[in-house]
């Protein structure tokens, strides 16, 4: 098993972009299969997962890579969702354009919040972003003429076009409902976001962000423009949250204050931590857990003879237990475990394998330490 992983690892392209592109293409195939092999209910669950994952991916860049915590990402998703609703309801803006605009609007909010956040640390930053999480839904209620108050803003989501139904029928002989259409929109957006972020993480910006997180003073003395880079991380992360909000708006067809409470922000944070802080794959896994674990636990509870209410109460308990267990047993999250497997060296036969030099530039810490034959 381990030597199989090592074999796959060696055959991946050397360039980060190439590797990420290949991964995303592979993921695309998996996503299409997943969506075509499951029923509309699962499709809509997967659509839900896609917008959680988009927001979580952005959050993991901010928190995991640059060390800034945010309890306000739920509110940023609200900004994206309301912007999306207002644009779509005009009836003239095509939805891809509206999604980009929603992301842009949220990015602008991110500049403002990020500029404040760049001066704050730890609990103070958490507090300031918490204020955002509390305040933004309140704004929607206060300006109820525009945002629809407590009832929220109905969003006229795009209908699946004929060509989409034709393509799906032609390729898979499946009916194409709007659940499936929304799931495709969500997952294509998610894959695009993952591709962009994974390259950003590996770029010079990613490295400087990590440097700031690890030793702020050293980075500052070396002449790194600390404030600007912190704001940039916040803006990138906010744009992702806005995009997630836009997808949410399409899928849920409603933007209402009750959908963007502090619970949403906290869920995103726990998803990121359970999956593995700072890892995009972890954000994906954490979001899957967020969406699929509670119904699964409820289902098990019902089978075990609990009443519906009791079974539903079991779900948050199970999520809490998972969170605590992961923190105790694998502080690196799910991706920490996966990474340990990926980089584990095959137990035998490494002497026969060719020296694996091109990987050394990429991850010297792990490859150097684990591959005695790899150094030239």
């Amino acid at each position: 098993m381990v030597s199989l992983v090592a074999g796959v690892r060696r055959r991946l392209p050397a360039s980060t972009l190439g590797r990420n592109l290949l991964l995303v293409l592979a993921a695309l195939v998996v996503v299409v299969l997943l969506l075509e092999l499951t029923d509309p209910f699962r499709n809509s669950q997967l659509a839900t997962m896609s917008y959680y994952a988009i927001a979580a991916a952005g959050l993991t860049v901010l928190t995991g890579l640059n060390g800034q915590i945010s309890l306000g990402h739920g509110a940023l998703m609200a900004v994206g969702a309301y912007a999306m609703g207002l644009l779509l309801n005009t009836g003239v803006v095509p939805f891809p354009l509206a999604m980009l605009a929603a992301a842009a609007v949220t990015a602008v909010v991110g500049v403002v919040v990020g500029a404040a956040a760049a001066r704050l640390h730890g609990p103070y930053l958490a507090g300031a972003t918490l204020a955002l999480a509390i305040g933004v839904p309140g704004l929607a209620i206060h300006f109820d003429g525009v945002f629809g108050g407590e009832q929220g803003l109905q969003i006229s989501s795009p209908r699946p076009p004929d060509w989409f139904a034709d393509v799906i029928y032609f390729l898979f002989a499946n009916e194409a409902g709007s659940a499936k259409y929304f799931a495709y929109i969500g997952w294509l957006t998610l894959l695009a976001v993952l591709l962009l972020l994974s390259n950003l993480v590996a770029s010079r910006y990613g490295r400087v962000w990590r440097a700031i997180r690890d030793d702020e003073v050293a980075a500052e003395l070396a002449g790194v423009p600390l404030g600007r880079l912190r704001v940039l991380a916040f803006v990138v992360s906010a744009a992702c949250a806005g995009l997630a909000g836009a997808v949410l708006g399409i899928v849920v067809r409603l933007a209402a204050p009750s959908g963007f409470t502090i619970v949403l922000s906290l869920s995103l944070l726990t998803a990121v931590v359970v999956g593995g802080l700072g890892s995009l794959g972890g954000a994906l896994l954490g979001s899957a857990l967020l969406v699929f674990l509670p119904p699964a636990v409820t289902g098990l509870g019902m089978q075990a003879g609990l009443t519906g209410v009791q079974a539903a109460q079991l779900a948050p308990l199970a999520y809490g237990v998972v969170l605590v267990t992961v923190m105790l047993l694998a502080p690196g999250g799910a991706m920490g475990i996966a990474r340990a497997l990926w980089h584990a060296r095959p137990r035998r036969r490494f002497a026969q394998q060719p020296a694996n030099t091109h990987r050394m530039d990429e991850e010297p810490s792990t490859t150097d330490a684990t591959e005695p034959g790899g150094r030239t």
Binding site: R207, D215, A218, A219, L221, A222, G223, L226, M360, D368
Partner: protein
Amino acid sequence: MTETAALEVRDLTASYGPVTALDGVTIRAERGRITAVLGANGAGKTTLLRSVSGLVPTSSGQVLLGDRELTRASAETIARAGIAQVPEGRGVITELTVEENLRLGDLLGTARRRQRHRLEQVYALFPVLAERRRRDAHSLSGGERQMLVIGRALLCAPEVLLLDEPSLGLAPQIVAQIFGVLRELVDHDGMTVLLVEQNARSALSIADAGFVLNLGRVVAGDSAAVLAADDDLRHAYLGF
């Protein structure tokens, strides 16, 4: 004290809340010389360096780099103006490679060609870093980490290099090697060095001049030879 000072600190005062850490400190670091700042724990040595490089706010006084006033400028501005500080406690980013650590200040910049040239100079000064350029900084020893942060400061092409306790926790042999490199930088490249040390004996052995701080005030300032020969001063403040 003659000619122009590369770095001049005039009447600098800084406090942490009610505690005055620097109380009207005036020192000068002559161009192309090593100037040591000596004193016991809590004398204000580190605060002096940190306020020169903009990490600690000052309440009055001036910091001058040549003719240029840098009082209360941001740390980034000061770094780009030509004052590079090597912080105490290494400041190595262990997740990045040695070369990325060196180029930290300009990873986002555009000055690639000049950078490459300076990088080669740093590698020539510290060959061990060249050997490990692609390795994670995580794998470096204490002495190598000190070399790495000095190298990083040199990549800013500074006029003045500030060092905070570079000998801390290092074997005498490594300290001698690092001090040798500092001497070489000063003698061959005309670098100005301001060296903060608790280890007064070894600092005075390579410094040209020195100042002694006690409780935030300058109690003595003279050539290194004079300071080292002053028995009273050595017993009272320098502990050797």
